[in-house]
């Protein structure tokens, strides 16, 4: 018996719900239905069947390299994700070079030689990109040190000064303790 049939049964047996009135159980069932539909659906692949290499090991390497290369048309997708025609041609080229015996790094360098570092989704580590790599860390450290300075100053704020004689006198007046004379 499927969960669906079981649900139908309990509903019928219980007879608590009026006919055609959606119950909480009905809504739940709808939600479960949608969620399970989404769970078994797959994201669409940009890689077309005709592109895929016969050798699964080489294909896996091609997928890995493609995921590291930026589609220069869409710019925030890898060529593995992109449906752009140029991305298709680049994927085919990646596979050709891998079949021809290029190492993964050689294929990446082939693309960098033509499109620059931008074509790699992970920026290379070199002086020009130090700000990119260290920037976030530097800013966090800066923020922490500023915060520490602020909190320390607050902690060291001097204790409240004692009331002067004049203030004590006014206080006594306000509290109704005579005319203020000690």
């Amino acid at each position: 018996m499927t969960a669906h049939e079981r649900n139908l049964k309990t509903n019928r047996g219980g007879g608590r719900a009026l006919p055609h009135t959606p119950t909480i159980r009905d809504s739940l069932r709808a939600v479960i239905g949608v969620v399970s539909f989404l769970a078994v659906s797959f994201p669409l692949l940009a890689v077309e069947p005709a592109e895929i290499l016969v050798d699964p090991a080489l294909e896996a390497r091609a997928r890995d390299v493609s995921q590291r290369l930026r589609c220069v048309v869409c710019q925030n997708q890898s060529i593995d994700d992109s449906n752009a025609e140029l991305a298709h041609d680049m994927r085919v080229l990646v596979r050709e070079r891998i079949v021809a015996g290029d190492a993964d790094e050689d294929v990446v360098r082939f693309m960098v030689d033509r499109y620059g570092d931008f074509v790699t989704l992970m920026p290379p580590f070199k002086p020009a990109t130090w700000a990119l790599w260290f920037g976030p860390v530097v800013f966090v450290l800066l923020a922490l040190s500023v915060a520490r300075g602020l909190f320390r100053r607050r902690g060291m704020a001097p204790a409240t000064a004692p009331l002067s004689e004049e203030e004590k006198r006014r206080l006594r007046v306000l509290m109704g303790e005579g005319d203020g004379r000690a």
Binding site: V72, V73, Q75, E85, L86, D89, M90, V92, L93, V112, D113, R114, Y115, G116, F118, V146, G149, L150, R153
Partner: protein
Amino acid sequence: MRPALIVPLVVFLGLVSVFMLRLIALGEGETPNRLPSVLIDRPVPAFALPELPGRGRPLRSEDLKGQVSLVNIFGSWCVACLVEHPFLMRIKRLVPIHGIDWRDKAEQGAAWLRRQGDPYDRVGWDPDSRVAIDFGVTGAPETFIVDAAGMIRYKHIGPVTPKVWEETLWPLIERLRRP
């Protein structure tokens, strides 16, 4: 005012002005998604492309040596290429323009040139982006200036407009022609 209050204010105003400047630059037509070409001052990639049917005069890298020329990436599918096309027809007397018909059906590329006019000296057919990728092409139209030694000296992305021609391309061509 205490420095603890002034410093964040100054940092904030600094950030605001950076964002403002970028916004103004964008409004004036700057395009940050354009990639600088790494091929500038490097020799053109070696290639030999077939001709378009019935046109003859195919394009090979060897043809780009001997004089300053333009290499224009186009396609019959490319709308922006239509924009620059009449202007290419006007400047073809001033400098040899070679075309690379990119990701196109050969017959459609040839028909497009018959219909729109043919500003090109030589035209190579690149249906699967082989040479386009060697040139670091990201879209069409793109126009490269190649000097007499066969070195890529400039890359223009987008249609060649009279403004781009007068301010950038033509002065550079004249400079490269000087011995």
